[in-house]
């Protein structure tokens, strides 16, 4: 390619970039130099082939740098003396034009921030997708890198383009653009992939990229979309998938997700990256467990990360101490899908609060569970007196809605919880809800107003003050693959907006409480695009490409997102397919339909998901009252993951306590 022929592979493009950086906003985000970053020689392997990874979080640096997944893989890969891993992020449009304009050597290619090497020079280009809205940024990065955007057009000079992250559990919409996808925890599989690539390179790269992809695919743990043919139905229900079948010998029918067991053996990040630029998370985060078994039916993360695997109290304590000393962050977040559910969370909270008493180290727990226990934890985390706000997520406005989504919180639970919060000196409570849940009516959403008023009334009563506040934050529900709601119809954006407008009016017109209630929501349009990308199949790839060609970038940013652009692209790109945007989004699926991700195995038994969906509908119309408990505390309810994946729940309590650091 013209973009790199003027330079040796692995050479820095920084001398070409530097004179132009003063002309772009926040140039610091493009120069690297983060504390704890790892800089390696291009040929670092002491013997044999060096395997080189460019890792990308396909969003702006300020969002991508703090991403735990990328930081962990960066560290795990670089620990091997025969692997080089560097990072790259999406460049803003101002730098994009500078790069495309280039210099006398041609355009300046997509580069890594570590050593400003061209992404195309690497063996593997791994992208982590937390959200589908990063797809256009991937196409832009590929194009800037000089890598053909379609996998079919790539040559042996191009890296293997690999997708991971939660969105990779349905990579079909980007099947034409990626060479491979990996499902689940990345720590072990990136090393396994590296081994395969090293061996193949050591043999002189026989058979080119086709052969290395074949070697990866036959393992059953790497999905290579090009090795599967998708056919579509021709009958009256034209449009649905007829079958997805391997088109080569030895390629498995289903590809399995990866599950990391014994998280204590993987205490990463151990060298947290500390940027010079400001980012969205200015704290050190420790993942205290992975997975969640609460059974909230809307929650893709909770379904695809099973089973629950805890880090022990001692590992958590050691990771916190190491992390703050290595990073200099004075704020620590204890991350997980439901942190208060850790079997030893009370001892963790007390132990850490004791250890850092009198210092300026502060602890935070993303608190989403609605019960009084959470308040005592929150109190422990704010011993030094800062009690600004607490967040709870009842998710559904009405009792009926909460039962449909299996969020087992009664209104009285919630009121008791906020009463405890306000009486302990908290002044602000934030409540998170969703709009557009299956079977939802206007009435269910308007219930949110009643709940918020009761919260304020309770707060005023128990605190004896009038300045308590409640913020209601509402997101639109998007049905996701591998959940019981994967068959559900998504609510159209007009109805979503109308419901939220009615709710807003109801809150605003209340003279007694209206001014104490804040109301935050987004319009329903971006959710429809997310819905298209979440449950789309390979035909949606053309839509993504058309949007990118029309200038679509940074779709997760409201100032860059254009609904009209997506609608136009969907209309033209899906012409002649017999399906359209509504077919992918607002249509309810049936049991018999082949879903685009059925050949990708998250461990969940499809029949269990279906019966859970039927239970949700039965609860909705009152014909049943079934609840799914958390298998962490109650017997197994046969979701299928443990036997299918040969895994098991790993939880405490260990019975250990955190000792003061001076004693250690």
């Amino acid at each position: 390619m013209a973009t790199t022929t003027t330079q040796l592979p692995g050479a820095s493009v920084f001398p070409r970039l530097e004179p132009r950086l003063s002309s772009v906003a926040k140039p610091i985000q493009y120069v690297g130099g983060e504390l704890n970053s790892t800089l390696k020689e291009w040929d670092c392997a002491p013997e044999g082939a060096t395997v080189r990874w460019a890792l990308m979080y396909p969003d702006a640096y300020e969002v991508g740098l703090p991403n735990q997944g990328v930081q962990i893989l960066y560290e795990v890969l670089n620990e091997r003396d025969w692997i080089v891993a560097e990072r790259t992020y999406a460049v803003w449009p101002d730098l994009e034009s500078v790069m495309r304009a280039g210099d006398e050597h041609g355009p300046i290619p997509q580069f890594t921030v570590d050593q400003h090497r061209a992404v195309r020079d690497f063996d593997l280009f791994g992208l982590s997708f937390s959200t589908e809205l990063g797809y256009t940024n991937m196409l832009n990065a590929l194009d800037l890198a000089g890598i053909p955007i379609h996998s079919a057009d790539r040559t042996d000079l191009d890296p293997i383009v690999l997708a991971g992250g939660h969105a990779a559990f349905n990579p079909e919409p980007i099947a034409d653009f990626i060479d491979a996808a990996v499902l689940g925890d990345g720590e072990e599989v990136v090393l396994a992939i590296s081994e395969v690539v090293r061996e193949w390179k050591g043999e002189g790269s026989p058979g080119g990229r086709e052969e290395v992809l074949r070697r990866l695919a036959v393992s059953g743990g790497v999905y290579v979309p090009a090795f599967y043919d998708v056919s579509y139905g021709t009958a009256s229900d034209a449009g649905a998938i007829a079958a997805v079948v391997p088109n080569r010998d030895g390629i498995p029918h289903r590809v399995r997700k990866h599950t990391l067991m014994d998280l204590d053996a993987w205490p990463y990040p151990a060298k947290p990256l500390v940027p010079l630029a400001e980012t969205v998370h200015e704290r050190f985060s420790v993942e205290i467990f992975r997975g969640c078994t609460r059974g909230c039916r809307f929650c893709q993360a909770g379904m695809i990360t099973r089973p629950v695997r805890e880090r022990s109290i001692e590992t958590i304590g050691a990771m916190v101490e190491n992390g703050i000393r290595k990073s200099g962050f004075e704020e620590v977040g204890l991350l997980s899908l439901s942190s208060a559910d850790h079997t030893e969370i009370a001892d963790v909270a007390t132990g850490l609060a004791d250890r850092y008493e009198g210092s300026n180290v502060s602890l935070s727990l993303p608190s989403t569970r609605v019960d009084a226990f959470n308040i005592s934890l929150a109190n422990e985390f704010s011993r030094n007196g800062r009690r600004s706000g607490l967040t709870f997520a009842p998710e559904g406005g009405s009792e009926r809605m909460r039962k449909v989504i299996n969020k087992m919180v009664t209104e009285d639970d919630l009121i008791r919880t906020v009463a405890a919060a306000y009486s302990h000196g908290w002044r602000q409570v934030k409540l998170y809800f969703m709009c557009g849940l299956p079977t939802e009516t206007d009435e269910d959403v308007l219930q949110i107003a009643e709940l918020a008023k009761r919260v304020i009334a309770t707060g005023r009563e128990v605190s004896g003050r009038n300045d308590v506040r409640c913020t209601v934050s509402i997101g639109g529900f998007v049905p996701k693959p591998h959940t019981p709601f994967q068959w559900a119809a998504q609510l159209d954006h007009e109805t979503t907006d109308e419901r939220l407008r009615k709710l807003r009016d109801l809150v605003r017109e209340d003279r007694k409480f209206g001014r104490a209630i804040g109301f935050r929501y987004h319009d329903g349009k971006p959710g429809i695009v997310e819905g298209l990308l979440s449950r789309g199949d390979r035909r949606v790839g053309r839509v993504i490409e058309a949007v990118w060609r029309d200038g679509g970038r940074f779709d997760g940013w409201s100032e860059h997102f254009s609904y009209e652009r997506w609608m136009t692209a969907a209309q033209t790109a899906l012409q002649g397919t017999g399906v359209d945007l509504d077919w992918f989004t607002t249509r309810e699926r049936t049991y018999d339909e082949v879903l685009p991700w059925d050949h990708l195995d998250s461990g969940l038994d499809k029949d269990w998901l279906w019966s859970d969906w039927e239970d949700a509908l039965a609860v909705a119309d009152g014909s049943s009252d079934v609840e799914v408990e958390d298998c962490r505390w109650t017997p197994c309810y046969d979701c299928g993951v443990c036997p299918e994946m040969n895994t098991e729940i790993q939880i405490g309590p260990t019975g250990q306590k955190l000792l003061p650091l001076s004693v250690m």
């Binding site: 004179p19 130099g33 200099g328």
Partner: protein, 245 residues
């Protein structure tokens, strides 16, 4: 239950003045970026900082006269307040270890009291340009001979017009660039004024009086010294020098 008031922090027992440099690619660090990085560095280095009082205590650091983003500097200054008396040489070593390469501590001395900002009256800059020396010298001479040169710059408060000539104490063309490349450099002494005149404003001013002249590619601006200005000799003194030295 009423919220407890935050603990009052003890007053500082020692103040240290620090000179640091912004070098290489870290010249793109903005002042906000630097202050975050510095706060983390003092925490990592376990320097016994004094903290401000309040619900959200911050280490007590006073910054003075930061160079604009994108310009390199050998002479940036700040002052820190400490809760314990320490050896300045130890702090220098600890900070050097804790700061990323490119943000480099040059000197640490005990503060004699008074305001550091009052000592930072002028700066000496080196402006490396790709423009050839002769026309640059001619353009500079024309600029020098003009009493007032109005330039415009976009600031946070919108487009501002101001004179960039009065703040210039001295300006000379140097025949060679710091990196040995083609072009020349301008050795510039700028008085600190309100509104501040930056070295790039002076380049705009030179272009303004000589429309045929341009600095070439993006200039590399480096602050070489910052401190008290001796008006007679047009020299900049060391703001960290002990009184009487």
């Amino acid at each position: 239950m009423a919220r407890e008031q935050p603990e009052q922090q003890a007053p500082p027992v020692q103040r240290l003045r620090i000179r640091y440099a912004k070098r290489g690619r870290l010249r793109f660090t903005s002042h906000r970026d630097f202050s975050r990085a510095f706060e983390r560095a003092v925490f990592r280095a376990r320097i016994p900082m004094a903290y401000s009082s309040g619900f959200n205590p911050h280490p007590r650091i006073s910054y003075a006269g930061a160079a604009p983003t994108g310009s390199a500097s050998e002479a940036e200054y700040l002052e820190i307040a400490l809760a314990q008396v320490v050896d300045p040489a130890d702090v220098a070593a600890q900070l050097e270890e804790a700061l990323p390469p490119g943000l480099d501590v040059v000197a640490v001395v005990e503060s004699p009291g008074g305001a550091l900002a009052d000592l930072l009256q002028a700066s000496r800059w080196r402006l490396d340009l790709t423009a050839p020396p002769e026309p640059t010298g001619a353009a500079l001479a024309r600029f020098w001979a003009t009493d007032e040169v109005i330039v415009e710059r976009m600031t946070k408060k919108g487009l501002r017009a101001f004179d960039c000539r009065a703040a210039v104490v001295r300006a000379e063309v140097v025949e060679t660039r710091a990196d040995g490349g083609a072009g020349c450099a301008i050795d510039l002494v700028l008085r600190h004024t309100v509104p501040a005149v930056r070295p790039d404003d002076v380049l705009s001013g030179i272009s303004a009086v000589s429309s045929e002249w341009a600095p070439g590619g993006p200039p590399l601006l480096t602050r070489v010294a910052q401190g008290p200005l001796d008006e007679a000799s047009e020299q900049i003194g060391d703001p960290l020098a002990r009184v009487g030295e």
